[in-house]
């Protein structure tokens, strides 16, 4: 430690700050700006090609078993906007790689579609069905995407959808601003 400089004597200041000329005068990110960037959902990529063979899901074909093994597009107006509104898309999924959102109708999705069909068939009956399922599996095996496919089916078939997007938010106070 050296003594403080005497009054009137200039000392070498190696600190870089906002006040010093030539220092770091860059603009700091505003409040919430970095979080917004981190949580941003990008659903299209202009550099990806348009896939001409891509069919859209619609009300008639969403529960059909003929879709098995096909990649199907999500219709823009109703479904994508609604899915975005209920936070069904997550930031680290690969939506930003492709021109527009599309999903693979894998066999688990067809299984889910069959359950939807079962519930709809029971709506005329006296005893309406409530089917309950837990999606489980390994890491990155597509559980959240399968949930999104379930939400898509519900939106297309005009169900009423209540989605709790993250269990974390339900039980902690610091994740939600």
């Amino acid at each position: 430690m050296t003594a403080a400089p005497k009054k009137g004597i200039k000392s070498l200041n190696t600190k870089k700050g906002k006040s010093t000329p030539g220092g770091d005068a860059g603009k700091r990110p505003g409040q919430g700006e970095r979080k917004a960037l981190r949580k941003r959902i990008v659903l299209s990529n202009d550099n990806a090609l348009h896939v001409s063979s891509l069919q859209d899901l619609d009300k008639a074909n969403v529960l059909s078993e003929k879709n098995e093994g096909k990649v199907m597009g999500l219709p823009q107006e109703h479904v994508v906007d609604a899915l975005r509104a209920v936070d069904a898309f997550k930031p680290n999924q690969g939506w930003s790689l492709f021109r527009r959102p599309a999903v693979l109708m894998r066999k688990e999705a067809i299984q889910l579609a069959r359950l939807f069909q079962e519930v709809e068939d029971s709506t005329g009956a006296q005893q309406k069905k409530t089917i309950r399922r837990i999606l489980c599996g390994e890491r990155a095996s597509g559980k959240t995407t399968l949930l999104l496919q379930g939400l898509t089916m519900a939106f297309l078939r005009d169900w009423f959808v209540i989605n709790l997007p993250e269990g974390t938010d339900d039980t902690s106070w610091h994740t939600r601003a």
């Binding site: 990649v71 021109r99 709506t123 309406k128 999606l135 169900w159 959808v161 039980t171």
Partner: protein, 246 residues
Amino acid sequence: MQYTQDTYTANLLQQILKSNGAFLQATKMTAKPDLPLPLPPAATLKDLAALGMANPEASWPVFVALWNELSVPGRPPVLLALDGLSHIMRHSEYMSAQVKPIHAHDLTLVRHFVDHLSGQQKLPNGGMVIAATSQSNAPVSPALDFCIQAARARQEAADIPQWNPYKNVDSRVMETLGGLRSESKDFGIIDVGGLSKEEARSIMEYYAESGMLRHKVNQGFVTEKWSLAGMGNIGELEKASVRMRL
């Protein structure tokens, strides 16, 4: 003792309003709920949800009133969905006034979901309850893991596993998920495993058509990526074929 989460419920009402707006707009209220704030005359469900959205202190009664309206016969089936199940199968991060942890099932919204998941309450117009587990941001919940294991064993007609007596049992979770261990068709698991090779080929053709995968998609290539992705784990497949550039 039950706890409401006012801001969270208000936010949920906002999401409901955005995503189901057309139905809410077209549907008139049938009952006169007892709310702390007045509703306009001849109110639609949209007015009701908007009221809860704008006044977080009234959001829980509004949610209950909305749910009662949905339970009227003739209304559409309901889908209740939740991601990250293990977070609600343990103590929440809140503390009570006595500085004791509050179990997640004592939060009204979670209670509502869990009651429908366990089958204690039925959806009056039919519908589905789907909960997805997570493996990347998941607190340990031994009871949930055990119930899923038991359900998997039941599906495969294998021996039901025994509870490890050295683990702490969360009796409320066990009670909720008890249905997974019994023979019930309405409650079960969907085991999301790897893709088959045909499915892998289908999605890789889509990658190639989008121009994100620059390689001829033939059998050898599909098999190579399928194996690298741990027998067709779709996240790893995407990583291996689209994201990773060598």
